[in-house]
């Protein structure tokens, strides 16, 4: 049977058809880092949390920072796909799949960190046995589980027509043949199926937006509803959601740049997409600068004793480099790049800076507050150990590994959404060259 794709669509399927040795090398490298992280975690499991830098005073460190960071970047899928789908932004079509898959991978990786931070993972069962509705931890568990399920469904539904195409167009082994048949084998493209699919996707697009916002709001409440300096703040919900969308856009920009180059998707992912997302990134950057100034200026101006101690730890203490690096290198510098360097390279550099800065920002939210003494004699220090850094590296590698495998199993650009696009999104060549330059 003839493949049901045009010649241009074949470019999207090319990564599924052929795998080079470079991909296997990448896979092996990422798997090695993940393996090292598993070894480090087994060490922690055996010896207990004493092998980390965590103490009874600073009980949240790198692990919880990673958790907040990964849940944050999971907002990429929500923003790019759901919001743009609901607002009928046509330029979204080539990048929705990348965004939706980032969401699922990021939740899977991020949700593991509270377990790692527990030290005793069997204690997760306490959430089921002794969970209480008053507990922010239970809210967190429910919202993340709901978000993960919704995101999986929201990723799967638009995949169904493409899987039918892949099943008929690509020579498949037993595993992939089974996978595609189970997930999209019954798709015929009839009008009934089309209507049902669009209805389902539309419903999911509407429902996943408040779910995503609630997830990061609840994550922020774990901090915000605690009577601790630097955390007990009314703006923490919107501050976290803003930061999450900010880092989510940055992550999708990086993913776009990588796939565009590696899989030769220049025809689909154009400078227009970078410019539009770059503009969104700039808006969020300015919002984050505003929130950050508001948060720290309020604490500084009030000059309450513990607030002063907290601001001092941040501005001149052991994390001053991180704090000023985050402010200047992660918020101010990207804003300049996004205003004055609007080519793909400038936008991607800004996105990388934003992602690094947003991890630092999560760390600076978690750790300095726990270092700030609740009583005069309880100054605390926290230095992550190699165990924590190894597990963090493994998480980043694991995220990249899952994403790479996904791009080899499923079309990373939605074929049917591209075909549905009313007019070609490609721009004049001169514009692209100009943008790249």
């Amino acid at each position: 049977m003839e493949p049901d794709v045009s010649a241009s669509d074949a470019e999207i399927l090319e990564p599924l058809r052929r795998t080079t040795w470079r991909f296997y090398v990448l896979l092996a490298g990422l798997a090695a880092v993940v393996g090292w992280g598993v070894y480090a975690y087994s060490w922690q499991l055996r010896e207990g949390l004493s092998v980390t830098g965590l103490t009874d005073r600073v009980s949240w460190g790198v692990y919880i920072s990673n958790f907040v960071f990964f849940i944050g970047i999971s907002h990429a899928g929500t923003l790019i796909s759901a919001i743009l789908r609901v607002t009928r932004a046509e330029w979204r079509r080539p990048i929705t799949r990348m965004a939706e898959s980032i969401t699922v991978m990021a939740i899977v990786v991020g949700a593991g960190f509270p377990l790692i931070d527990l030290g005793r993972p069997d204690r997760l069962m306490n959430v089921f046995f002794y969970g209480r509705l008053e507990s922010a931890i239970l809210w967190d568990f429910i919202s993340i589980f709901t978000y993960l399920t919704g995101s999986l469904l929201y990723l799967l539904l638009p995949l169904i027509p493409d899987l039918a195409v892949v099943r008929r167009s690509v020579a498949l082994g037993r595993f992939r043949s089974f996978l595609y048949t189970r997930l999209g084998g019954r798709w015929t493209g009839s009008a009934v199926q089309k209507r049902s699919l669009e209805k389902s996707i539309g419903l999911m697009a509407v429902i996943i937006i408040p779910v995503a916002i609630s997830v990061h709001t609840v994550v922020s409440w774990i901090f915000g509803m605690t009577l601790r300096v630097g955390w007990h703040s009314a703006i923490f919900g919107v501050y976290f959601v803003g930061g999450a969308i900010f880092s989510g856009i940055a992550t999708i920009l990086i993913a776009m740049a990588v796939f565009r180059r590696v899989y030769h998707l220049e025809k689909y992912i154009t400078p227009l997409h970078f410019r539009n997302l770059g503009a969104l990134l700039l808006v969020l950057d300015l919002v984050m600068i505003y929130f950050t100034l508001s948060e720290y200026l309020t604490a500084t101006y009030g000059a309450e004793t513990r607030d002063v101690a907290w601001v001092r730890i941040l501005s001149t203490g052991p994390y001053a480099i991180l704090f000023w690096g985050m402010l200047l290198g992660g918020l101010v510098l990207p804003a300049f790049l996004l205003v004055f360097r609007r080519g793909i390279a400038g936008i991607v550099v800004a996105a990388i800076l934003v992602d690094v800065a947003m991890w630092m920002e999560r760390f600076l939210i978690v750790v300095p507050t726990m270092m700030t003494p609740q009583m005069a004699f309880t100054w605390n220090l926290y230095t992550p150990t190699w165990i924590e850094w190894s597990i963090t590296a493994a998480a980043i590698a694991g995220f990249a590994l899952l994403y790479a495998l996904f791009s080899k199993l499923f079309p990373i650009v939605s074929i049917w959404e591209i075909q549905e696009q009313p007019a070609p999104a490609a721009e004049p060549a001169a514009t692209e060259q100009e943008a790249v330059a």
Binding site: D122, T149, T188, S190, A191, S200, L203, M204, I207, Q419
Partner: protein, 380 residues
């Protein structure tokens, strides 16, 4: 990975989750020890009436593991009668193990007592047992005799009081270890809820004291407790405590242990310290409605003997008796709203999945679809 290996892996994970040590499982009774002195006084012993009156006993020990308060009084009669008054929070039997030579090793004499109001009332067993065995054998079955004297029982609030006496110079060969002047090693054990004296113990703890001298080493103390109950769980109950000496004067700066009985054993809500008025307070936030046994103990010191107080806290739900709210027991309206929203989200997921799944299950409508391929609808 084959299907069977996936099933095996899943079974292994489930097995680990099911059989891994539960974090909140009741812990085994640790062995606690206390050292002190018991004196044999000239004159008669305490009245055996099931009531422990102020100053009735010369020595007290509170055991933190079993939560049993033991009162001792040795009279200087030829038999050297040791009078014992036990105050126990447990509804099952309590036991006192006595040994002359070794600290709870080998064989010991044991007195077990239980109160079963619907099954004959007070039960007593003078027994002999190996420390390594969980059950004891009555002396009479071994050829000896039961010589537990002056047994009585009564209640002290929710706690059960047992009073009895044992001859230290017994002629029973199974009590022969007690012919010595001491030191004697004592241990307490209990069954949390079984009154069958042959049943195994829930926990065991040990203590030791020396029988010698005739001087008074401590005066009586009394812990009093008042509880301000919460309106509904999980609001906190306030536990007010008062410690006074034999003259009725407040005892300042004293440490009081406070504990609450839960399904997993006793939860320590203390320690707390008395102020200059001899008053201290603790709080306890009950999780659910129901009855909670709360105890407070002063373990002695500064010339004062140990004392304990027990009370039952009854907590009722604010929804109790309101049938309209039966389905929302434990939930406040906002929490109920959140639950409804979450269920709505999941229902939407289910509907979206159902709609797509149903359309995929329908028969392929036209041959043209087969011919044109799955994306034909996009091109039309």
């Amino acid at each position: 990975m084959t299907r069977s290996s996936v099933v095996l892996l899943a079974a292994a994970v489930v097995a680990v989750l099911l059989f891994a040590p539960a974090p909140l499982a009741p812990t085994r009774g640790a062995v606690a020890s206390h050292a002190g002195s018991a004196q044999c006084f000239l004159g008669g012993g305490p009245a055996s009436d099931g009531v422990i009156s102020p100053g009735e006993y010369g020595e007290t020990f509170f055991d933190g593991v079993t939560k049993i308060l033991a009162n001792f009084h040795c009279d200087a009669s030829p038999e050297r009668l040791l009078h014992v008054g036990l105050v126990s929070p447990w509804s099952g039997w309590v036991g006192l193990l006595v040994q002359a030579a070794e600290p709870m090793d080998g064989y010991a004499n044991e007195v077990r007592l239980a109160y079963a109001p619907n099954e004959g009332g007070l039960r007593v067993q003078d027994a002999y047992r190996s420390i390594a065995e969980p059950t004891a054998t009555a002396d009479v079955l071994l050829g000896g005799r039961g010589d537990v004297l002056n047994v009585s029982t009564g209640s002290d609030g929710p706690a059960r009081v047992f009073e009895f006496a044992i001859p230290l110079r017994s002629s029973d060969p199974y009590d022969s270890y007690l012919e010595s002047e001491g030191p004697f090693y004592f241990a307490f054990e209990y069954s949390a809820d079984l009154v069958d004296l042959d049943s195994g113990a829930t926990a065991l703890s040990s203590t030791s004291f020396v029988v010698e001298g005739v001087t008074l080493t401590g005066t009586w103390s009394a812990v009093e407790m008042a509880i301000v109950p919460p309106a509904a769980p999980p609001e906190a109950a306030q536990i007010l405590l008062d410690l006074r000496d034999a003259r009725g004067f407040p005892v300042p700066s004293a440490q009081l242990e406070v504990f609450v009985q839960t399904a997993f054993g006793f939860y320590e809500a203390g320690p707390v310290y008395t102020n200059e008025q001899g008053v201290a307070s603790a709080s306890f936030a009950p999780r659910d409605e129901g009855d909670y046994l709360i105890g407070a103990a002063y373990t002695g010191g500064y010339g004062l003997l140990a004392s304990v107080a027990w009370q039952t806290l009854h907590v009722s739900s604010e929804f109790a008796g309101n049938p309209d709210a039966a389905s929302l027991v434990g939930l406040r309206p906002v929490e109920s709203l959140i639950v409804v929203i979450i269920l709505g989200v999941w229902a939407t997921y289910g509907y979206a999945f159902f709609v797509t799944h149903q359309s995929l299950r329908t028969q392929r409508p036209k041959a043209e679809t087969r011919a044109e391929g799955p994306l034909a609808w996009r091109r039309r």
